[in-house]
Amino acid sequence: MTITPDSPPSRFNRFMDSDLMFSFLSSKLTVVSAIITLIFFVAAIFAPLVAPHRPFDPATIDLLDAFTPPVWAEYGDARFLLGTDDQGRDVLSTIIYGCRISLLVGFAAVGLSLLIGVGVGLLSGFYGGWLDTVFMRLADVQLTVPAILTALVIDGIADLFVPPSMRETLSIVVLILAIGLSDWPRYARVARSSTMVERNKEYVMAARVIGVGSFRIILRHILPNILGPILVMATIGLAIAITTEATLSFLGVGVPPTTPSLGTLIRIGNSFLFSGEWWITIFPSLALVLLVLAVNLLSDWLRDALNPKLR
């Protein structure tokens, strides 16, 4: 195939022609999970526009609407597709707003893990020596304990330092810190081993010979070359972070009920499970499962698609 210089294919066309796109479109399950993920993202970002009600505005909720079952059940109300909770809030709307918090915490936590993990990995791999030993021993120690336990402990400790009046406003920040700090060693290990390989390649030598500084080499030359596998890990990390956030919130140490995430909603609804109001907890649970499953499937596909051995 020859490309005439006067009509180069646009970036978009090149992307649509790529192997990645082909492998994406040939797996139906992946396309479906991508669409589901996209729906979640769009709904979360445009929550005020998408949600049928404004569940956290006291002016628009009515206690008389409390415990309305879903539309298809007996006594359902067409205004509330998935029913309402104990305070008369529309369950569908609280789920949409809940996704917003869950995804926000998820992305921020993964971002923090990436920042710390990749930073530590690059420095460890590039410089080696005692710096490497210290960092990797620290990672080993942290990897001995499951991330969720680390997050729980960090969250518990951080809460003790936050004055009670600030707790509600800062709880999301504390949560992001706790989850982000609990998951960095995975990224650090991968970044370190890839950096150690890249460090000895010719382009790094060449950059060094012409007098490029170490930091510039690390950031501008090595980092772009090790980013692929790390981004794949980050997509799995997003699913893990969302689950961890939901779990912590469910345990009551995460997001407060005033701005509930999916985990908080499940926690709130759980107390009504026995009195028959199952929809308050089951629908947020299903939303969470669907989101995590879709992200997991996407990351599975991405891992295989970018793996040169499987091509």
Partner: protein, 322 residues
Amino acid sequence: MFLKLINRLFQALMTMIFVGLVSFLLFNFVGDPISNMVGQETSVEDRDALREKLGLNDPFLAQFARFGSNAVSGNFGISYALQRPVSTLIAERMPATLELVATSAVVAIVLGVLLGVYTGINRHSWISKTIMPLSLIGVSLPTFVIGILLIYIFSVTLGWLPSFGRGEVTQIGGWSTNFLTIGGLKALILPSTTLALFQMALIMRLVRSEMLEVLRTDYIKFARARGLAPRVVHFGHALRNTLVPVITIIGLNIGSLIAFSIITETVFQWPGMGLLFIQSVTFGDIPVMAAYLVLIAAMFVFINVVVDILYLIADPRLRGRG
């Protein structure tokens, strides 16, 4: 291998010291331990006397050494919230957690390995084709969601099984057990299934993919050509060679069973150590938090060392290497 074991033991020691240090720092520097122990009216002199008596004015290292020796002998002070010795609280709660974790571990390992071997051998049977997507859902479901769904189905809708607490327990010495009464066993079903499901799916998927790799190798073909019974080939030759990675994951996962028991215990109000820990996190009950951390770290380190020793048993090739 021996060197590696020494290295691992050193690492275990490092982990314990690190966790001990975190617990100690928590214990002594988060908030003022004195004001957590005495009432509002206590005078400044009395507070200072207590501080001196408890040794809180000693140098840092001396305090840490004392904390360490107390921890080793099981003395973690008195819970702020419950006003009882932490060691007694933990001793009361320990049987509940250990029984739950042990049951789940057995279920997860036995079913996980068997299903893994089955789906690895009969890759195209309809059973395998049903189990595989289910297992993917199994690894995606958060533990507490599994618990809630199980409670909804088996307790609320069908009313077959209890949804909270340990039910009937039998006391044997200081140990309370669920295993001896029907009520106790029934109460154990839902929590242990909840805890086991995720690990089972994980072990199954791992065993399956390892089996698929091993079954392709030449020595399996030769074993078949020699006319050995399929059972011998599959379990004696194939499974044995998948064991090293499987043991690693199982070892790590028994550790995470202990961690995830916190969640299961919360969902099912199971009166174990995890529930105690969550309550201590919510109340800022630092002695309990510190004790739990040290104990859990000790369990993890112990499991890791056991896993290293199991490698030697599973793979004779590793024994010779220095």
